[in-house]
Amino acid sequence: MSDDKNAKDAWLERVRQSYRETPGPRPEAKQRLKEALDSVPQPGRRKRSALRVWAMAAAIVAVVFAGVLIIGRSSGRSHSLQRASGEASDSVQVVRFALSAPRASRVSVVGDFNGWDEAAAPMRRQGAGVWTISLSVSHGRHVYAFLVDRDHWVSDPEAPLAPEDGFGVSNSVIVVGSPGGT
């Protein structure tokens, strides 16, 4: 092994050591997180009363954003996959997401419904630089954003923004479902 390689390895090893010794977060920050968990809805289980609230909100959202976010309907075709049992937690509907980004070379929709996976939902470019995708999304409230060219996070200009959770991050909100869907 050359001296240069030895020197390179020594440099990197010291970086790694410094990384391992990085000061950790403060214990009070972790405690704050643990306390905040109490105010977060339980995953995968929503109370029926909460569903009714979301269903009412869905009706309002559907009217206001019908031109951009098409909930459960696309060009008159209903894509509701709701099951006959009426269990809203088992229901999904097709949602069409759209973003005008004429100069983008790649756009995806990323949200809690796909685990914030950037690769899960790449959008397709349509005419006039509008990117679209239709996804099956479970009933309820979801938070999402668009990722443009893998680097630029963009909130949906036609959708309401999520409460900032105290951190100032602006994602968009969609409420999927209908008043009669519960």
């Binding site: 390179k8 020594a10 440099w11 990197l12 010291r14 970086v15 790694r16 410094s18 990384y19 391992r20 990085t22 000061p23 950790g24 977060p25 403060r26 920050a29 972790k30 704050r32 997180l33 643990k34 905040a36 968990l37 109490d38 977060v40 809805p41 339980q42 995953p43 995968g44 289980r45 990323v110 809690d112 419904f113 796909n114 685990g115 914030w116 996976d117 950037e118 690769a119 893998r150 680097d151 630029h152 996070w153 959770d165 951190f167 100032g168 991050v169």
Partner: protein
Amino acid sequence: MNDIALVARARGGDREAFRALVDAHYDDLGRFARRYLGQREDAEDALQETFLRAFRSLGSYVEREAFRSWLFRILVNRCRTLARRRGRRGWVMMGDEEALRERPDERASTPAAGFEWRDALDSALGKLEPKLREAFLLKHGEGLEYSEIASLTGASESALKMRVKRACEQMRSQLESVWHE
């Protein structure tokens, strides 16, 4: 109890199980967030968002992926978002002064050369483009394979290798004067 068992219990409504997952992974994720974002407060914000989002999204977690990897994917996204927002108000890296405020006991025990190295390392990381810093930290900080990093970041392995190579070149150039000891 392993991660999969804890996730199963958390999905069933056991918040203490999820708190156990927080205990298991908080410091590891915090190390990356701190080095990526530079500032303690930003790193703690990224951690809080990451774990709260993870808890809300447990239903979408698929067990074939390690839970730690899933958390890291969310964290990387949150760090990118925070870095982008901070980019509009200027970049401030953790320096010796901040580190000393956090750990004043080090003032007496850490040799001056150690401070010089840490200062140079923070500065060099802060000067890297975010994409390069992200790839460099995941590769040489966390020690992940390129295939794992590709899965976390969505970038191709060849692109990641190039980013790490460029990061190493820039880091070495920045640190050249202080790493010989």
